[in-house]
């Protein structure tokens, strides 16, 4: 039997919990998708510990009815507009010039650990660290240095920092369910590694995940994580724009976004749709082409902002491909809007065959609304099964007594 682990993904409109087993292959034992309102989680941040605990507990209890389990690892997947991406270099001495030593796991761990030793602002801490490149003496850009002979090992780590209080609130919310979290996974980092192909990572890919309140984006090129950021804007901003322009409620704005987010519809369908949601007299204010215009303006604005940031960080020329995911990628023409801005081939994310099969086996819809959760699940699984060094910062190591904590027995 493999190691049982739990991934809890804090999205802006839902909490997705996976209970899975890491063996030779990933086995999803159970999963739950619980919607949350903005009083519970807002822009990725915890606003109500108790509500979160109720949602997570619901999934855990349902699973516990079927099977007893004791997770050995618990991961929190998060997005935060205040998270920051920084890079840092850590070193470890392995041998002497006369006696170069074989680089071991221990050396790698030490170098990674040393890369954390960086001055960060007060009140913040490192949520996740990802080794992006190793150098052994004069040899650079080594993917896995384990077993090589060398004197000095250097690692360049990508660090995700966030406010300590935000991170502790995620952790505290889970503690109320009895889960003690081991580490954090920054959603977009996991998605970049797990939802893009090998070729895309090599040639340079910009992945954009537009959720309800947040947009996460990041870049991997030449297999190196180069940037990741969360913006406080998402699909809900389209709804707010439509509310402002048409004076409709946010619920109706959501319906407008979904209907006019389609590529094709005929006059009859449009009339039926408008009659179904608006009382007579209100319909005349809504014009399809205007809805499309406002949707396009908002998405263009987000993409232009990202493009500016890429230019500022000298990343624009490093990407050859743009991939879009998240709930807002259900707007069928979103790829064309992005392509107009970035001038690069753009595609809406679709799971590959392997992932599709896994989703089908577990009755998980292949929806882009779940991409951050799936990214986190796959990332956690890889970390548990690969020989690579742990890239998440351990916050608490002990998960013993889990059953007692959640069920009091």
């Amino acid at each position: 039997m493999g190691e049982t682990f739990v991934v809890v993904d804090f999205c802006s409109s839902k909490i997705v919990t996976f209970i899975a087993e890491a063996n030779n292959e990933l086995k999803i034992k159970f999963w739950g998708n619980e919607p949350v309102d903005s009083d519970t989680i807002r822009q990725g941040q915890v606003y109500n510990l108790e509500n979160i605990a109720i949602k997570v507990r619901k999934t855990l209890n349902e699973f516990a009815k079927k099977s007893k389990f004791e997770p050995s690892r618990v991961f929190i997947s998060f997005a935060d507009p205040e998270a920051e991406f920084i890079t840092s270099i850590g070193m470890a001495a392995c041998g002497t010039p006369e006696n170069p030593a074989e680089i071991s796991e221990k050396h790698i761990e030490q170098a990674i650990k040393n890369s954390y030793a960086i001055k960060i602002e007060e009140g913040r801490s490192i949520a996740q660290a990802i080794p992006v490149r190793f150098n052994v003496d004069s040899k650079t850009d080594i993917k896995n240095p384990k077993g090589m002979l060398g004197v000095r090992l250097e690692v360049e780590s990508a660090l995700i920092t966030a406010k300590k209080s935000s991170l502790l609130n995620y952790k505290k919310a889970l503690e109320k369910t009895g889960l003690i979290a081991d580490g954090f996974i920054y959603q977009i980092v996991a998605q970049l590694y797990e939802l893009t192909s090998k070729e895309e990572k090599e040639n340079g890919v910009l992945l954009i995940d537009i959720g309800r309140d947040l947009t996460n984006y990041g870049v991997i090129a030449e297999n190196k994580l180069l940037f990741a950021e969360t913006l406080p804007v998402g699909g809900m901003n389209i709804n707010k724009d439509l509310k402002h322009y048409f004076g409709v409620t946010l619920d109706k704005a959501e319906e407008l976004k979904i209907f006019y987010g389609r590529d094709e519809y005929d006059d009859e369908q449009e009339l039926d749709f408008l009659n179904s949601i608006f009382p007579p007299g209100r319909v005349s204010r809504i014009k399809g082409e205007l809805v499309v215009q406002y949707i396009t303006e908002r998405l263009t604005d987000i993409f232009e902002y990202i493009k500016e940031k890429l230019i500022q960080n000298d990343l624009k020329d490093k990407i050859t491909f743009v991939k879009i995911t998240g709930g807002t990628s259900e707007i069928e023409y979103i790829d064309r809007i992005a392509e107009n801005v970035f001038n690069i081939t753009t595609e809406i994310y679709r799971p590959n065959e392997e992932l599709e099969e896994l989703l089908a086996q577990n009755n998980i819809p292949p929806s882009n609304r779940l991409s951050s959760s799936l990214g986190a699940l796959l990332f956690a699984y890889k970390k548990l099964t690969s020989n690579q060094n742990s890239s998440e910062v351990k916050i608490v190591g002990n998960v013993k007594g889990f059953l007692r904590r959640i069920f009091g027995s």
Binding site: P81, E82, L231, D241, H244, G247, E297, R298, T300, D301
Partner: protein, 348 residues
């Protein structure tokens, strides 16, 4: 719920606007030249700068401390200067019902003297509103500004914080630096003007000083905005200016827990448009937040515009919880995503 109120016109309230330091002084100088119905006071440690400004009262503070040479970006000097001249300051504010402090934070006099004035105003039970600007990130004086804000939160009834770093939301790329600063000055001036218009002018449907007092006593950050429609076709843009004020830090109209809405017109404002203004502003403010509105009497308070809309909102949001975190966090995006992109482009 929107309610209309009548005012007792016979009572005159004393409103004073005090500009502290260079930036605050410049804005109050403009307010004085604009002829707003209020007493204006400028405090500065720099006697040369103050000599070029006009206001009802000009006070060079800390003559012994700074010898009239300015506080040299040192808030401790600004503080000492204000303490040295406190009797003169108190003399000017002693009979005040509402004091509005205006300052640019980040330098010596604005950041050092403003908390001193705010503290004494509280001791004298004067209703006090602060309207402050934050320095540009590149100026590197953010910490000084944050310390001043943190201290003043204890003393002020409400405060409005305008972030110079968000100026790109309103200024076009080819604006001159002078034009960009004039935009900030205007936003500050609009905040002050909103308060004065609401409590000073007689109206069909009135708002009065007590309405304002009740509102701003909620504390925390304020939401102040003004929109002007020169002609009926501009009404949409005027409303947008009121509901989306990108320079205000830490608050949006969605945070408003109670508001006063005042509309001035050249007398031609159509009822349908009046309704439209109320409806659209109501749409952006949480349903349970009460809004009181005032409508100016024709010919009173003179405006040539089709409609001038003023909104003052109280949010109850503490600066320590919202603004300080946001400002201290250099990851704050320089784009205000709360504003529809089409509206943002129109503002430029």
């Amino acid at each position: 719920m929107i309610t209309a109120y009548k005012r007792n016109d016979s009572i005159n309230f004393k409103i004073k606007v005090m500009g502290i330091g260079g930036a605050g002084g410049n804005i109050v100088h403009k307010i004085f030249l604009n002829g707003l119905k209020c007493e204006t006071i400028i405090l500065n440690t720099d006697s040369q700068a103050i000599s070029k400004q006009r206001a009802s009262h000009l006070i060079t503070i800390g003559k012994s401390t700074t010898k009239g040479g300015g506080a040299g970006a040192d808030p401790d000097l600004g503080k000492k200067a204000a303490e040295e001249s406190i009797h003169e300051i108190l003399l000017r504010i002693q009979d005040t019902d509402l004091l509005i402090l205006v300052a640019g934070l980040g330098n010596g006099t604005g950041s050092g003297a403003s908390p001193v004035v705010a503290k004494y105003a509280k001791e004298k039970n004067i209703l006090t509103v602060g309207v402050f600007t934050l320095p540009f990130e590149a100026e590197g004086r953010k910490d000084i500004a944050l310390r001043a804000i943190n201290e003043m939160e204890k003393y002020l009834n409400t405060m409005v914080i305008i972030d110079n770093n968000m100026i790109s939301e309103l200024a076009s790329l080819d604006s001159s630096v002078g034009e960009a600063f004039a935009i900030v000055d205007n936003v500050v001036k609009n905040c002050v003007e909103s308060i004065i218009n609401i409590v000073q002018e007689t109206s069909y449907v009135n708002l009065d000083f007590n309405d304002l007092k009740v509102l701003i006593s909620r504390g925390g950050l304020g939401y102040f905005a003004k929109g002007v429609a020169e002609k009926p076709e501009d009404l949409d843009k005027a409303i947008e200016s009121v509901v989306f004020n990108p320079l205000l830090t830490g608050v949006t109209i969605n945070d408003v827990k109670g508001a006063l809405l005042y509309i001035k017109s050249n007398g031609k404002l159509k009822m349908a448009h009046f309704d439209q203004i109320l409806d659209r502003i109501r749409d952006h403010i949480p349903k349970n937040a009460p809004i009181k509105y005032g409508l100016q009497k024709e010919g009173d308070g003179k405006t040539g515009s089709y409609a001038e809309i003023y909104l003052i909102g109280a949010t109850g949001k503490k600066t320590s919880e919202n603004v300080l975190d946001k400002i201290a966090n250099k990851r704050l995006n320089s784009r205000n995503f709360e504003i529809p992109p089409g509206v943002r482009k129109n503002k430029k």
